[in-house]
């Protein structure tokens, strides 16, 4: 009996020592390599359903011991490769394992053609969200920062985005996937405007200068897609005091939902009292706006967002008339704007994602021009639904449908006469993106659209491809057809006019390495269906529009950004060349439009001084001048203004983690930029059309702001008690 227990003890001991219940030892070793022959370090290898395994070393070699003797299934897993299994019998000491690369979004090449993803996801990107706030000259305006990017032209007396030889209306602006109508404040000729949205609302922005996805329509040249913040982290209140006004914003965060509300009041009159203006203001611009953002989680990965903005602004400006010594023309503008947006995102299952929403933009402008009074109203509703189907890691298909419903009216308030239109458009789109392998990505889409007012339907194909010749480089190309409804004031006169169209051809190269990025892209963009104005009855101002204008824009842009070469310094240089010619309006031939300077340069620099907790920055914008039509000289748009140059500087000082003081000055040198001339409608007694130069509102614009954040996070408070 004693012997029995002794034996039992021995068995017990053995069992304790050997978890595998077996005394056999199997040696497994070999190398792991990719199909291309390169060895794979860091691969994980193990025997299925056991704890036995090992990793491959820097040379792809591995070796481990297992106590399993038979029915060995070896699993090999490595990042970026398909997981494989191998059935082994006994000792296997010189295995050579070859893995197939796994193609997914993670290691696929991104189509960079025309697209600029403004996010902080990757380390070396063209632009980051913070740049919108810290680029000198932008003064917190999204457009101001985007105007330093390749493919854009700074038209300082307009303030909107002009992309690759197109006019400002050719850039469609989307807010959480839905279209914004009247995205800029209303201004009069030669008065710069701003984007209506505060850049602090957005976590990321997608900006395309051409060749974009079939998801986006009604845009001839460009799309700007603004994505609001999904999940604010804490309760906080932000107070901004500026030389031009004040703003308060509060965020409350709950478990499943959060809400941000803010109010801002801007009034330029105190500033204009202090700093002499060249413009003759009767009433400086002032505005009051409020907005609310609400977010609610839908399960683990779903989200609903709702946004409302209401604003009202006013200004009264006197502008000199050519050949007239009086104070000139008095223009008063009162603008009322409302924008509401509700969108959701919800995965249906692992393979399907559903997204959609509805937006409404409501704009009302009251113009008082001398003794006349006019009113323009535009209401736009956009409804959209899309699904993304992830067929495999390497293939996804997007499909969706949308509709735009709009009404527009121009009214002469004195006579009561009005004109306008109601239009409705529908579109469906589908697009596939295929990561062929880790070096090639293809994207192809189709967009079908129908315009009920002009009774025209169209199908637009869009194709794009990217190829990675070496790890840091990307070659990409895109081609597609694009369309856009004519401007509101044109449709109000000629509602039946067909849409304008453009074809994009573009090819680009990008090299990205450790904090440096270089991009170059060339494009060719023919236009058709541009609006031509004719006067059917002689001697009458009554006109009609036809879609007979043609044009072309071609050029190239070059961009280089470097955050590495110089310590604490981040800079970028952009050069954009555009040759834009188009026949539009009353021109009898193709001319260079006023908004498309041929040569455009931006240099932006930022420098961090740790000792002073300060970031000074500077932006230099140059272009070769704006064309204008001088009726005293033969030809159309035959004159060009002197080159435009503006050097802006800024200084951000972090007084405390939650207190920032910001100073900026645009056009520091006070250079007297002009944007061409306006001319009298009739020649004077000497037979000369009198002229008046288009100047800047003031030599400089100086801005000082204090931004204070009060965080009332309960958790943070608790920490303060420690």
């Amino acid at each position: 009996m004693r012997l029995f227990y002794l034996l039992l003890l021995l068995v017990l001991l053995l069992l304790l020592l050997l978890p595998g219940r077996s005394l056999a030892q199997t040696h497994i070793s070999g190398t792991v390599a990719a199909k291309s022959g390169e060895t794979i370090p860091g691969a994980n290898l193990w025997i299925k359903d056991t704890f036995d395994g090992g990793s491959s070393d820097a040379d792809g070699n591995f070796a481990f011991i297992t106590h399993q003797a038979d029915s060995l299934i070896l699993v090999i897993s490595a990042i970026g490769f398909e997981q494989t299994t191998l059935v082994l019998s006994g000792q296997s000491t010189s295995l050579s394992i070859v893995l197939k690369p796994k193609v997914s979004q993670l290691n696929a090449v991104t189509i960079t053609s025309g697209s600029i993803d403004i996010s902080d996801k990757a380390s070396a990107v063209v632009m980051k969200p913070i740049d919108i706030l810290t680029t000198a000259g932008s003064v917190g305006d999204i457009t101001g920062a985007l105007n330093t990017l390749p493919g854009t032209a700074t038209v300082a007396n307009d303030g909107r985005l002009f992309v690759r030889g197109g006019d400002a209306s050719e850039t469609a602006i989307f807010f959480d996937g839905l279209r914004v109508g009247s995205a800029y404040g209303t201004a009069t000729a030669n008065l710069p405007t701003r984007n209506r949205f505060n850049p602090a609302l957005f976590k990321g922005t997608f900006f395309s200068t051409g060749g974009y996805s079939a998801e986006y329509g009604d845009a001839l040249s460009s799309v700007l897609v603004l994505e609001t913040i999904d999940e604010p982290v804490r309760n906080q209140t932000d107070i901004s005091l500026m030389t031009v006004g004040a703003a308060v914003s509060s965020t409350f965060v709950g478990e499943e939902q959060s809400i941000t509300a803010d109010v801002s009041y801007m009034n330029l009159s105190p500033y204009q009292e202090l700093v002499k203006q060249e413009f003759d203001w009767e009433e400086a611009p002032k505005s009051l706006s409020g907005q609310v953002v609400y977010r609610h989680k839908l399960g683990t990965d779903g989200l609903v967002k709702a946004f409302v903005q209401l604003s009202e602004s006013q200004l009264v400006l006197w502008q000199k008339l050519p050949g007239d010594d009086s104070r000139g023309q008095r223009t008063g503008i009162t603008n009322k704007f409302a924008f509401a947006n509700a969108s959701y995102k919800k995965p249906i299952n692992a393979k399907w994602l559903s997204e959609g929403g509805v937006s409404g933009s409501f704009n009302n402008d009251q113009f008082a021009i001398d003794t006349n009074k006019y009113q323009n109203t535009e209401n736009l509703i956009h409804i959209k639904q899309k699904f993304t189907h992830y067929i495999s890691d390497a293939l996804k298909v997007r499909m969706g449908a949308e509709t735009f419903i709009r009404n527009y009216e121009e009214k002469d308030l004195l006579s009561g006469l009005s004109r306008g239109f109601d239009d409705e458009r529908v579109a469906v789109f589908t697009e596939a993106e295929w990561f062929v392998n880790t070096k090639i990505t293809l994207r192809g889409g189709l967009r079908g659209a129908y315009n009920f007012m002009s009774n025209e339907g169209r199908v637009e194909p869009r194709l794009a491809a990217a190829y990675r010749p070496y790890p840091e480089g990307t070659l990409s190309a895109a081609v597609g057809t694009f369309s856009q409804v004519q401007g509101q004031s044109i449709l109000a006169v000629s509602p039946q006019i067909e849409e304008a169209t453009a074809v994009h051809f573009q090819v680009g190269f990008q090299h990205e390495q450790q904090g440096r990025i270089f991009r170059a892209e060339a494009y060719h963009k023919p236009y058709a269906g541009l609006p031509l104005q004719t006067f059917p009855t002689q001697g009458s101002a009554e006109s009609v529009f036809e879609d007979a204008g043609k044009g072309v824009a071609r050029g190239f842009d070059i961009f280089y950004r470097d955050r590495k070469t110089f310590a604490n310094t981040d800079f970028w240089v952009t050069y954009s060349f555009v040759h834009s010619r188009r026949q539009y309006g009353t021109f009898t031939q193709q001319v260079q439009p006023s908004f498309a300077p041929e040569h455009n340069v931006s240099v932006v620099g930022k420098y961090w001084i740790a000792k002073w907790k300060s970031q000074p920055g500077a932006t230099l914008s140059l272009n070769s001048g704006f064309t204008y039509d001088n009726p005293n000289i033969a030809g159309e748009m035959e004159s060009t203004s002197p080159g435009f140059a503006s050097l802006s500087v800024n200084w951000s000082y972090l007084l405390k983690p939650n207190l920032i003081i910001h100073f900026s000055c645009s056009n520091v040198t006070g250079r007297d930029n002009t944007f061409g001339n306006t001319y009298a409608a009739q020649p004077n007694e000497q037979g000369v059309y009198a002229s008046e130069p288009l100047t800047q509102p003031a030599p400089r614009f100086i801005f000082v702001g204090v931004f204070w954040t009060i965080s009332s996070d309960k958790k943070a408070n608790q920490l303060n008690n420690l």
Partner: protein, 214 residues
Amino acid sequence: MKKSIFSLLVLFSSLSAFAQKGGYEQAMGNALTQYGQAKTTEEFHAAANSFERIAEKAKGEMYPNYYAALALITSSFQMQDATEKDKVIDRAMEHVKKADAIAPNNDEVEVLNGFGLMAKLVVDPASRGQSYSPRIMQSFGKAMSMNPNNPRAAAMMARQELGTAQFFGSDTSKACGLAQKSIPLFDQAKPQGFEPTWGRDVAEEVIAGCNKTK
């Protein structure tokens, strides 16, 4: 004799269960040793691989995921390429998510989450600082409120606070006090099983930094 055979059978069956469990314990023990000895990025990644293998087999266990994430996050601080760093940290955060799903509302997992976010910030402080700092603070703060005696939560919070204070040249006393406070918590901690023990060096580093500035 019959009784003996019966008890032998009972013993055997319970032993085989124990051996299964023992396999996990032993594999974890080995992997922890491997992790403890790791110095190079490659060694950290090999250790992470070991934890990932264990996580694959022992699906209900939180610790293999916890340590796989910890090894990956730790390795990111000595890596060079920013894109590669981001990939490694993203892989770590997947394990944090899995650990959180297995053991919800665990203060150690919350500290790890904050540590991962900290690693993300370090990749690109200039552009990520503003958005990541509050999230990091929130994570460590949440861990501290879940378990006021968690020394790692206090030490990591102290490190984050010190970094912020030094950046702004403001008062470091809160950071230093927090680090001081974490030392007795490390002393009193009696880790059971695979409960983490790291972080004392972080607290000591903060204290050393505080003494230097004084």
